[in-house]
């Protein structure tokens, strides 16, 4: 597994760390090269960890039809339960446990309290990772996330392969379905482009808005006029997301 790591010029034992999860088709390089996040991370003193989006390699099965929306580059950040996927597609455990332990041990990062963000499939990953492990991933944001994978084609295809046909197992990996039981006090920040070509069929943010309202989950979802689904959209607002995480991760319980 490859991942990107950015360390700010000034590091301390409590430097905040934000995980970034990329979208369908991406490797660990897309965010590193296209989001322009390093400048704000340098100024804020934040470290960034950007994993790949799936296991890779000739021995790892991928989409039977060679499609780009499942398999290599499309692990959906879940732990697969179905053969043959379950052997390698354990992205949930990788992101939540293995990679935090690795960057703590190898690079001395403080992974006791992390931020998590992502784009599209990675926005889905950020939301479910927060809901499933809110004590570790304490701050969360997303760009154009797949908020209701159980209800849209991308998620239905992937979850059927990875989790099987019993849809009751899907809810734990579906942000909209989870929030009623898993709501946290964290303020979720989401940006969504109004000209995103996937908005109506795959993203449907209103589902999440309504579920958060019902669950009293704090949410700011900003519709950004004219923006599409690209990394240009991410680059336009990544600084604001990093400030959101820096503020949450540097809060202190000790008084000021």
């Amino acid at each position: 597994m490859r991942f990107g790591l950015y360390r700010p010029p000034v590091m301390s034992p409590t430097t905040p760390v934000v995980f970034w999860l990329s979208g369908l088709t991406c490797t660990e390089q897309n965010f590193v090269t296209k989001a322009g996040a390093q400048r704000a991370a340098a100024e804020l003193g934040i470290a960034l960890v950007a994993p790949d989006t799936s296991p890779r390699g000739d021995s790892v099965p991928s989409d039977p039809d060679g499609a780009w929306d499942f398999g290599h580059g499309a692990g959906f950040y879940v732990d697969a339960t179905q053969a043959p996927w379950s052997t390698h597609y354990q992205m949930g455990t990788y992101v939540c446990d293995e990679l935090p332990a690795l960057v703590a041990n190898e690079f001395g990062l403080d992974t006791s309290r992390l931020g998590i963000s992502g784009h599209s499939m990675g926005g889905h990953g950020a939301l479910i990772t927060h809901f499933r492990h809110a004590r570790r991933f304490v701050s969360v944001s997303a760009f154009a996330p797949i908020v209701a994978p159980s209800a849209v084609p991308w998620g239905q295809k992937a979850f059927a392969y990875l989790l099987g046909e019993n849809r009751r197992t899907w809810a734990a990996y579906d942000a909209t379905a989870s929030v009623s039981a898993a709501a946290t006090g964290a303020h979720i920040l989401i940006d969504q482009g109004s000209a995103d070509p996937f908005l109506d069929e795959q993203l449907q943010p209103q589902r999440f808005i309504e579920a958060c309202r019902a669950a009293n989950q704090p949410l700011t979802l900003r519709m950004r006029a004219g923006y599409t689904h690209s990394y240009f959209f991410v680059a336009s607002f990544i600084d604001e997301h990093l400030r959101h995480h820096a503020a949450a991760l540097t809060q202190t319980d000790d008084g000021v």
Copy 2:
């Protein structure tokens, strides 16, 4: 020929326009996707034009040995005089005349007074384009430019192919060799990484520092500790370069 064009959210008939010339192996996409220049350009109200680095296509000859430092992706921004290159490799005329006319006619940009910047081979292109056409390209900056192509392997190889073995014809496309005769009043801004692996063999900025001093050419050349030759280096300082151009291009002769 392909090129990138960024137009800021608010345009006027006098919106400043900055040309960006990329380095060896690049297409028009590298700057567009990796430099993160759009945010500062949006704030400053600057349009950006990023041409490809050479002619392309199966009918266009490239390096006889398939090397990456000449031919496709490596036009060196000169007008070739030697067969077979002279048929297509007219990047000097393309950048100085054809592309400004095209973006003026098709997109309504004001190309009467332009800024020009670039990286590596494109930094060389920016410097010589300014010296050769200072009334059109009135502001200039560069990242890690090849300042003395006649004196270093990359330039010697390309100029021998494109311009022939008579080195007297090379000087007009060599910033260090040109400045004594072509010095302008423009303040040249250059950033150079101290950890650039090409610094000693291919870049040799001290040659240009000395030539500018002798020619009374205003120059600020900043050695940036620890930076290498990548687009991460460009992304780190592109905002300052765009501000340099904005200040020069919005100067008025009308008093204030």
